[in-house]
Symmetry: C2
Amino acid sequence: MTGMGSKQDALDAFRKLLGPKGYSDDPDVLSPWLTDWRGRYTGRAAAMLSPANSAEVSALVKIAAAHKIALVPQGGNSGMVAGATPDETGDAVLLSMRRMDQIIGFNEGERTICCEAGVILQNLHDVAASRGLRFPLTLGGKGSATIGGLISTNAGGTQVLRHGTMRALVNGIEAVLPDGSIYDGLSPLKKDNRGYDLKHLMIGAEGTLGIVTAANLQLVPALIDRCVIWAGVESPQAAHQLLLFMQSKLREQLEGFEILPRRALTAVLKHIDGTRPPLTGNHSWHVLMEIVQDDPAADAPGDIAAEIMAQALQQNLIEDAACSVNETQAEAFWKIRDSVAEAERAEGPALQHDISVPVADMARFITDESPQIEAAFPGTQIVAFGHLGDGNIHFHVKAPKDADPKNWYENNMAAISAAVYDRVTSYKGSISAEHGIGQLKVRELARLADPARLLTLRAIKKAMDPDGIMNPGKLVPLA
Amino acid sequence: MTGMGSKQDALDAFRKLLGPKGYSDDPDVLSPWLTDWRGRYTGRAAAMLSPANSAEVSALVKIAAAHKIALVPQGGNSGMVAGATPDETGDAVLLSMRRMDQIIGFNEGERTICCEAGVILQNLHDVAASRGLRFPLTLGGKGSATIGGLISTNAGGTQVLRHGTMRALVNGIEAVLPDGSIYDGLSPLKKDNRGYDLKHLMIGAEGTLGIVTAANLQLVPALIDRCVIWAGVESPQAAHQLLLFMQSKLREQLEGFEILPRRALTAVLKHIDGTRPPLTGNHSWHVLMEIVQDDPAADAPGDIAAEIMAQALQQNLIEDAACSVNETQAEAFWKIRDSVAEAERAEGPALQHDISVPVADMARFITDESPQIEAAFPGTQIVAFGHLGDGNIHFHVKAPKDADPKNWYENNMAAISAAVYDRVTSYKGSISAEHGIGQLKVRELARLADPARLLTLRAIKKAMDPDGIMNPGKLVPLA
């Protein structure tokens, strides 16, 4: 209880404000939203609020501020670091943005779209496609992830090489700040120097500084054609040389550059129905590249791919390559890449790390650090795969084959992750490239972050959310 | 005096730390740096500090923090809003970054360069060119403006249409925070989701949150060829239609899109030696477009320009056009554009406004609002010119011909600027597109900013710089 009234008073006020469509404390309704996507964190909540518009978000935040009630914003609840899961006290309320799923506006000339935060990524893709355009950011959770969640986690995915992360695609936002005021920054200004950039501050803030309620997003022309290349290479170093070669030959048309080790391909072929080896030989490392065409004046991706791969072979940059000749084959190549996580799960549990270092250093990180981790934790196996073109890989550490995984992980998890993150930090890399910090990494961030960075994160959080009602316990390691 | 010691104690500590090369209180040495570029503000300073490296910046900020001495950071002192000019109390010290002018590193594969904050833009251009690359941001003050100043003001210029403002070209920064700690964010990570983005927070902060000491910057391939087109059009609306047409035909190859009214061209031809009319006819509005080639595989800019202008003529998008056939002619077209400010000065004083609205709305702003301003202030003339492709123009309001300009401006300046900024705000635009706020616009920002934005600016400033020692009186309208 506070001087401003009890928790029950707040809940009554929420119920009155939002009505039956916007308020629930039914345990059956809440239950699916209390556990994180990966199933590792489960919390409790006093209620779930589902506002219908920004005005309702503003009003409910004012109630929460007055009663010092913690709010846990949620989009699709498909984040990877438990950033949208409440703690176990049951004092917080869930703030679901899923009802706010309207497209607000569209500007054909500027290729921009304005939408509410609860729009699901797949729906945005569909709307853009219906206008002959494309929203280029895409990722596995596109059927559930919402625009607000993607903004609040600065989501990445497989097309970042060309189009950047979510940050690069957001022209403007509307957000409700921790005191309930509405910040209207939706206007898509290409130049605006009126002080600290609040848009960039809110992007990636994981709901700890306020609630993103709407956004103006950049669309790009629809794809006319694409070619997906699968190449076998000797090592991550060779893959990086290939990346530089491709970038010297191609500019905007190179949209994806992913690597996976033989081990990952073997697991996919073993566990995922309908997958076949793209190449006949046995290669240590594999690269998937996507060449696209969205400009009628540009050369056809298939022609480009054939010519460039011939040159790459001649220069010994690759051991072999196959270029997709139709969409079925392109999809088949991507399916292998996209199935690595699932296949690895079928092989046995793996401790996952979403890490980045400067692009130029990632090959060295993989080849130098993987054996050291395996040596330090005997019996483990590293599977490092993903977005080499962004300097971002998913670094999986698999338990020894003969170990009971549950016990083994309980005993070794913290030490292994610490060892990985120590090494990433020594490369001046990031312990969270694209997933965020959430609850999962908040202790490691506290341990490893530059003190100046920590100081600033805490100062900003405290200044903007002095009562700590915005998604407490996430992102910012409080002292 | 404070409990921590007197101002003289601080000055003694600065002198001891920095030595004769890094410390001066000689009035003759300080004098050129106490007046802003446009000559409208003159302040006083107790000394000028010129550190040689980041460690010295860190140490001097710690001294300033301990003694609560205000620091006014300065690069080339060529800003447009008096953001680097101290106040009149003489209590502040100037912090010149000009000695920190070293290139730190270069990565050919990634096309990145790392340099200290005091590197002058022209020097960076030269270093990039010597490596066969280009730093694309450029502006009139390139011979004096420093990288640190360009970052702290998120500078724009004429190539923003394709390459973005400074923000888009900064991969990482190092900065000294108000407590003297060094934030090392130089590592050029393409993906990094470890909380609030401190790089974006410091960019455009005008030195009010700390001192940018170094940066990792993105370079692009050198130009192979370019073609500058001069076109006559009927109206700003026609210019915007032409912009959309050009963007539908060209992607990366369109690098600049500028407009000027007949009035501005006439002034240039009258006052600037060696300029000639690019077209024979008499057009109400003029457009300068730059088409570039930096990819050997791309079509030649001259061929593209000729073909596209033929189409534009046929579709009545333009009245006439001339395409440069060599560099001399390209330079001559740009010289006209770049001389507008000087020619307008020769015509008589003008009150200048650096404003932006959404690109799609700028033509309407010019045609609807200009006559209203002229009607509200009889005898004034509007000259609106600049970066239409960015939705950013320089909106000059010229005094009546028969008025004594000095008196007239003293009596009308505040009212005219308020009228312009009111209209910009009603278009959800920005009262500072590319120049920043500094001292010049801080009152207007206080008057017109969204309360939620003001609240946040103040909260962040107070949290990060509680004693207000970092460039006080600039950017953030304190309550």
